[in-house]
Symmetry: D3
Subunit: 171 residues, 6 copies
């Protein structure tokens, strides 16, 4: 067990399309609460098609969290609670930005608790300066050629610029 051997592990699941400085802030803060933090990047979705591939999104996150020794990035291609159980996780960490987040998040937390009683969902409030940033907002501004450098790491900003030049309507 993750606790018995004195080590606590959590996952931080998301689509990360692309990773923002808000995500990085949550990951940094969460990494101090657990011995190991796995950033789980959803590999496909039934609802919407990401603009970056799973490999690209994982690479963007990896470069963004390279300075955090106890953080690891993995693809997530399963029901999130099964993925968490397979990883030996004690908890799933989510950032919480606003009220619209909260409703959906609360519902998912209850569903996941029902599916896996032993795995907690815990929320960290977004930092004030990142509280209005989302991957969707970043994509929308980038699609219009607006500057996103204050909201994503430099390597992501560069990738967004190149992607949007090629196909501006992809966002």
């Amino acid at each position: 067990m993750t606790v018995q051997d004195g080590r606590r592990l959590a996952i931080c699941p998301g689509t990360y399309d692309p990773v923002t400085l808000g995500h990085v802030d949550i990951i940094e803060r969460a990494s101090r609460l657990f011995d190991t933090l796995i950033v789980s990047v959803t590999d496909g979705s039934f609802k919407k098609r990401p603009i970056f591939s799973t490999a690209e999104r994982i690479a963007f996150v990896e470069e963004s969290v390279a300075h955090l020794e106890n953080v690891e990035v993995r693809p997530l291609g399963d029901l999130v609670v099964r993925h968490a159980q397979d990883a030996g996780a004690l908890a799933m960490v989510k950032g919480l930005r606003a009220i619209s987040d909260f409703d959906y998040e609360f519902q998912m937390a209850q569903i996941n608790k029902h599916l896996a009683e032993d795995i907690e969902t815990i929320y960290l409030p977004a930092s004030a300066k990142y509280s209005f940033i989302s991957s969707g907002g970043v994509r929308e501004v980038a699609a219009w050629g607006g500057p996103v450098d204050d909201w994503v790491p430099p390597h992501v900003a560069a990738a967004l610029r190149e992607r949007m030049q090629r196909s501006p309507t992809a966002g």
Copy 2:
């Protein structure tokens, strides 16, 4: 440091007037995430006068968490972040029940983050079956002589019954 010596400590602050089964559920779940969990019972308030004394409220919590080895109960008579720092805490744990909670909690989390950058506030969503229970609701039902046995531990229900018989308008 709490992390350097391999031990993580968190506090779970509140008025607990009185402690409910919803509180106990959050405390149990939080106690599995940290090495030590301190339940910090506010010792007085500028806004409202509790119906039970600090000593009574602490005793009610202590009896409710006696089965949890890594949980300790303490009075809280300071700015909550200073109390957390003095205890060597890494985080403050709060239960999150509903949207009205969220707004106030989010504001307090930002204030506390500003006052003590190194202490996280983390939220655990209330379990569905406890999502409608609050100390205030319990006091209101008890004040009318209604049954509160499903919402508070037995020793608290007994104390509420006795208290309300003596001064029903105290709630």
Copy 3:
């Protein structure tokens, strides 16, 4: 049983301090859904002291609903679900105005459902034109000598004017 004898009864509980046109709208609409509707006027409260006495508040409601044959007004001096059970009610009807209402109402509905499984709480959405009216808002405007004639029945407006002249800070 209320249903077995072919008659359905509901209560419409509140403080009605004072009754507004928004209340009257909800009562009229609810009275068409049930055979008998009892408007239950809370007789005292642990939290706040009404500006009108129970007798005054009941009289104001009675005059406002005199045109509705199947509506009756009664004092409410008990746990609301026991009052509903004693009246033989099938349901409690509440108006729902806004999101801040909703949270509190939802919590009370769950508490009451737990206390009396057989009594439903049902909500009617406030009409658009009354969606911003509350007894508290009416009291506040009246306290400053502002006109409240569009928000309360004429006899209530007159009583508010007279009350506020005598003790404007009572609101």
Copy 4:
């Protein structure tokens, strides 16, 4: 008129894709408030394509409410208020789960009130244990092969399993 002949009729409209135990709970509770309750299953939509056909969804509801004598299931292929008027309904009953529900529901209630003054929309709060269940959540868990048996009737769980095996991305 529905009231003049001593009988009250309401409809309970929805997509039911598929019917959940939360829906069944609302239908059971609403059926005790009216003489006849019609569950109206939307026959197509301009916004999203259901994963089950109208015939399948009606059959799933019918099997789920077979024990309720005064409940009938019908397709709904019109503006919902015209459908309600044609059925001779006094009211439309909706379950209310959360704040995100509430906003949309409140807006629809005002629109429908404007289109048909004589038909009420009434809300029943979801039971605590079903407050996090939605058809969408059920479809998402089922799409990943997760267990949905606690959230839908057995015949629906079986149909979901079979449907998802054939085309997992349909959810």
Copy 5:
């Protein structure tokens, strides 16, 4: 500068698919707060395809605001803050209807403030009687052949009727 020459200019951006009486109300009220108000009609979108062309939507707005001397209608085909800066605007005016609006609007306001510090977003609360009207609701009712004459100007109602007859599923 717009202020230095004693004239203040604002824009009122939106998709207006189609313009509603709620929009017209906001535009009329905003036109009294500024010397010039430009209604900026988004020319395409990355997210959803309007049912009316940009030319049609502009013509509908122009006919609706012809009585307002200081109001002008323009297409908007850029990042909204750049469009506002190019127009020499001091502010962007938005109507605010409900809580679901608020979250999204607040996030966009923060993003836009970050992109253009000197341009304010200001909100006008929707009038009570229009608080439930949206272009989406109007399209949905029209798609089912319901009456929308109370919610849009006559020329828009006529256009919606004609459009829906030709392709009812376009809504």
Copy 6:
């Protein structure tokens, strides 16, 4: 009329107990939208007793806005819309921080619109960095001897420290 003579005037009403940097930010931004901005400081309240006198609160605001040429500070001892009309105001400006603000604010805006059709309420979203600051939060932190220097102007921080030393329970 304020518009006919080419000058637009607005008021910015509040209790300012005490004025925060969040208030100052809103006042600065609003002062750029109008020719004259009056900060109206409520002179007493029916609900709660301020910790600073009206004269103190006015002096604190005056010192905080001394750098803004077109801003004036006045006591507000009347129904707010009558005060606005007497001042010749076109609009009342409010800062908007969070969802709990919004509900109350929206209700007051509708009430005030009903009382004075020609006066608009307009909202400016709080800047991200001030979005969690309120006078109440500042008083609470100050009451515990916590630092409030990042949230209020220096002269207010000094006054709070002095006040709280004398009577810490006044907050």
